[in-house]
């Protein structure tokens, strides 16, 4: 019991300044149930038990959203979680259906920002990469990448910028082409006989595939061919494949 009180006291400061930070003077967001009823759950997932339901005509105040769930309060002060899909069928004070963004395939085609994490192989060594991208038009985007390659002989860090062209933005599974430049830092393992640190400019071209899954995320897989511009007489070439999960906004 004292532990619970202590922990609750820990969150008290958070609760007090949260109001100041977000502003308490915002108008309440209220909706009216027009379906025969909506069910309330104790938590934001279908796994949590249903403990209450609101019937047609009741007004609910929208408090906060977690993924596909909305926390609501009724006029008696009860609080619980209702699916966003059910809230989207309620009406607000204007008598119109509530305008909530439910991310779908259309939102995917209209996305402006995307970011993700991909993993795969760079010349046989594991690579971990993260990126962020901005779409200028539905067909053309610019991206910034950071990658780490951890081979048995060296550690490689790479920063790349590239443009992406996708010819069919409205397809659920949409192919794309990329072209870009970057910089590579190669740090050989200390145990090697002649460790030689290098950093070089790279150019790369690639092709890949995005597959929209649901809500805000999609799978992305790509293959890239890198040209490493060395100061020696020959340039080096490297191939890379990776696959990962991205989100869009």
């Amino acid at each position: 019991m004292p532990i619970v009180i202590l922990l609750l006291m820990l969150c008290l400061p958070g609760m007090t300044w949260a109001g100041w930070l977000w502003g308490d003077d915002e108008p309440e967001q209220r909706v009216r149930v027009v379906e025969p009823f909506v069910v309330w759950r104790t938590g934001p997932a279908v796994g949590y038990p249903v403990f209450h339901s609101s019937e047609k005509g009741e007004w609910l105040t929208l408090l906060q959203r977690k993924t596909g769930w909305m926390k609501v309060r009724d006029k008696k002060g009860r609080e619980g979680w209702v699916a966003v899909a059910a809230i989207a069928q309620t009406q607000d004070a204007t008598g119109e259906n509530v305008n909530l963004s439910v991310p779908d395939m259309k939102a995917f085609s209209d996305r402006k920002f995307e970011a993700g994490i991909l993993m795969g192989e760079f010349e046989g060594s594991p690579v971990t990469a993260g990126y962020g991208g901005y779409w200028f038009t539905p067909n053309l985007a610019a991206e910034l990448w950071g990658s780490q390659v951890l081979g048995s002989a060296s550690e490689i860090l790479m920063v790349n910028a590239n443009i992406v062209h996708q010819p069919f933005p409205h397809w659920r599974v949409s192919p794309y082409f990329t072209l870009g430049v970057g910089h590579i830092w190669v740090d050989p393992k200390a145990t090697l006989a002649v460790p030689e640190e290098r950093d070089n400019t790279v150019g790369h071209a690639g092709l890949g595939l995005r597959a929209y899954i649901t809500e805000r995320y999609f799978i992305r897989a790509e293959f890239k061919d890198y040209k490493v511009f060395t100061s020696r007489s020959t340039n080096e070439e490297a191939t890379e494949w990776k696959i990962g999960l991205s989100i869009f906004f």
Partner: protein, 216 residues
């Protein structure tokens, strides 16, 4: 006498006043038309004003068993993005310090690694799955939402003067004290190849940890 005249006069005046105003007062009460027209327009719901809490930031501490280098205190942080009610992305970092190998302990004045090489750091990027959402009950007054989750991913471990690609997998139990504050306990297993004590081999590091996180 003068008082009496005043009294009569004033009483009459007051009565007259009341008579003069009363009909207006009563008329107002009977009239259904409000004096001031309500100037309230129905406001549509503005989604931007609803707080979304899909991110979670947290700190943890625990014990990690670094293979060949004893068990050590570990601490770190994590940033989570909840994709849906079941899936989440988690990026984590952890810091520890490797102890002595048994060889160093037995041989006495021998050092396999320098102090800076004993610093153990990892980062990882994981995908989590909320397998068993539920509720936990504490005494008769409190019910907390809980999640039992599985998590796996990859990243890098920096140890023994080397950075190695590392897989990790584990499970945890999260208790939400409020909708935006959670505690959790978890176990992670880290796998990487390393050659710090002779031939290259797979190092398995078990981590047991407990953490506190805030949703925002």
């Amino acid at each position: 006498m003068e008082n009496r005249t005043k009294h009569l006069f004033l009483t009459g005046f007051c009565l007259a006043q009341v008579m003069a105003f009363a009909p207006q007062v009563f008329a107002q009460e009977r009239d259904d038309w409000p004096l001031i027209e309500p100037d309230v327009k129905p406001v549509p719901v503005n989604e931007a004003l609803i707080d979304t809490e899909n991110f979670e930031i947290g700190a943890f501490l625990g014990v990690i068993n670094i293979e060949d280098f004893e068990s050590s205190f570990i601490y770190g942080g994590k940033l989570t993005y909840h994709l849906s009610e079941t899936f989440f992305f988690e990026a984590g970092i952890g810091f520890a310090e490797g102890g002595q190998t048994s060889f160093e302990n037995l041989a006495g004045n021998v050092q396999v690694l320098t102090d800076s090489e004993r610093e153990y750091r990892y980062y990882n990027i994981n995908l989590g799955y909320n397998l068993l959402p539920g509720q936990a009950f504490f005494s008769e007054n409190y019910a907390f939402n809980t999640n039992f989750y599985l998590i796996a991913g990859a990243g890098a471990t920096d140890f023994g003067g080397d950075t190695r690609f590392t897989f990790n997998a584990g499970a945890g139990y999260q208790v939400l004290l409020t909708d935006s504050l959670a505690i959790d306990i978890g176990v992670r297993q880290h796998y990487y190849r390393i050659d710090v004590v002779g031939a290259e081999k797979t190092s398995m590091n078990t981590e047991i940890r407990t953490g506190l996180s805030v949703f925002f």
